[in-house]
Symmetry: C2
Subunit: 368 residues, 2 copies
Amino acid sequence: MLERFHVPDDIAVRVDDKKLKEVVEKIFQSRGISEKDSQIASDVLLSADIKGVDTHGVSNMLRRYLQYYDDGIAKPDADWNIIRETASCATVDCDRGLGLIVAPQCMDIAIEKAKNTGVGMVSMGNGRHLGMAGYHAAKALEHDMIGVCMTSSSSGVVPTFASKAVLGTNPIALAAPAKHEIPFIFDAATSTIATNKIRLAQRLGVQLAPGWVADKNGNPVMENFSLKSTNDPDEERLLQLPLGATRELGSHKGYSLGVVVDILGSILNGNLAGPLSNNVLHQNHFVAAYSIEAFIDTKTFKELMDKYLKALRELPPAPGYERVLYAGLPEHEESQKRLEKGIPLHPEVISWFENICSELGIEFDIIK
Amino acid sequence: MLERFHVPDDIAVRVDDKKLKEVVEKIFQSRGISEKDSQIASDVLLSADIKGVDTHGVSNMLRRYLQYYDDGIAKPDADWNIIRETASCATVDCDRGLGLIVAPQCMDIAIEKAKNTGVGMVSMGNGRHLGMAGYHAAKALEHDMIGVCMTSSSSGVVPTFASKAVLGTNPIALAAPAKHEIPFIFDAATSTIATNKIRLAQRLGVQLAPGWVADKNGNPVMENFSLKSTNDPDEERLLQLPLGATRELGSHKGYSLGVVVDILGSILNGNLAGPLSNNVLHQNHFVAAYSIEAFIDTKTFKELMDKYLKALRELPPAPGYERVLYAGLPEHEESQKRLEKGIPLHPEVISWFENICSELGIEFDIIK
């Protein structure tokens, strides 16, 4: 399924990841973002492109972020700060800074706290788009910690039994290190699919599967259908279903996980969320780091993780499937490919880059 | 759906909750459980019966617990203790004590830590069955904290693309207080349905819905079917599906949430989990408490929770549905009914109580 959202090989233009990152940095700087913050932002974006999470990479998000700055929705020089703090916790006001830039720094705060007490948690209000949640969670790995990240995002998902989409897709990410195995990095919307996937499906003209969305009354659509590729904003206002899709299959669980994310990501920092939110661009976050050494010898944990993850990927596959995966493994394998062959971009995205680079006087020589 | 697993009204025998609790306490004591521990255990069990969570109440679980003691699987006088500790974290060896009894006490440890640092977390290894996870999470509410509880349980769930059931149903619970609204108490298996629901469906002769289980090769069964009510252990070895049911509907998310629970509940305390576990009765747990005051004024949080939860339950319902619920609300409403009318037990369960009470010399006069 990952593949079906990638740009088809026959039209993809492969670009060098390091050169693309430099270009993206310069574009961010053109909006008044500091050099340091631009580096952070482009690292988060490129990390998604390298892992094959195209929904959260440059092609799908960079234009949107620039628009946020141009429209005054996000603040380029956001003066985010800690408004309450204990030994293990902090509450941060993001001052309308992109989560893309503020979350990695809040993750650093959580990691420092975890070094002292075993756990660090930061609830981040008044924020904007986070980027790939798994990036922030995975920052904990190099410190031998477990990382957590959640985003209480804008409306789109219809609660079980409701006829109105009032919850965000509210993703949850958790990363845990292993010794030799590829780390476990889980990152998923609490809806059946992510909003960005619908947008990308529209661009690529692929079909939506049964149970991915609801009709305007909240009834799950249980057949395949195509989205027209238009600029009509109504096309983007489909009701998304919570993970589980229907009540019988457990949509109340996906719905409740979405509520959990609103509570930790928004309400805990005093921000409005879900049905109370009148700002669809408003996004609040929650990050945490758990020190492994606080619970167990790190070496023992990592060796046990190796055994556990290896046992999962060596399970006998069901008929018709080649092998069993775990979260983080396919993204790692895609990274290996893309670091070697380049990141595949749609020709339309290449044109956009050429135009904006020409406009800003940035050299654009990144095609492999 | 809650109702379809309740004992039908025409055969149910209504019993008094307080009297039932006393009887259950005495039965636990007959197995060498201390008075204090017996009180804790019966409080957890009865709490499930009062809330209408019959899968985790006396009728479905008490016999099983006694069997664990009789077979030496669980230890009546478990000497559980903290084996590692930091300001915010603790690792506990449960010494084969029932989670039912050890988890509430570990939750107390987490709450004490959260009073000091903002967060407390306890990873509990070498444990046995937990009972209703939501009970332990909800212990945080009276301290104005958010409570979390997870259980890394025995095999039954088949990972996405696999043909072997190696993960537990690994439930996740989170409880958060409100001011006037009924608190949010989420408690759900990361499978499409809980193991106990299959067992109860078998006893009550109700059908299993499409997407609840997989055939022996790991393929989701997408039609309705009935389980025969037999004592054949093979009937209980169906492969359960992760939340999401099929890959297209997001079963990899339910599968990964199950892995998250194994990591926090088992691997973090050095215990085997999932595919490594060769002991299907082995269950390990994770509990946590987050102090609300560490992040925000508790009053502000609770008022915002009130607005948020009220907005959810006042959403316009989809056609064919009466209203929108949130986790904790239907269970609260059922409690009100059962505290007044009594807890409905199946006549077969009443007979079992009559027999065991007669055998142990316990007075059995609990019918309303």
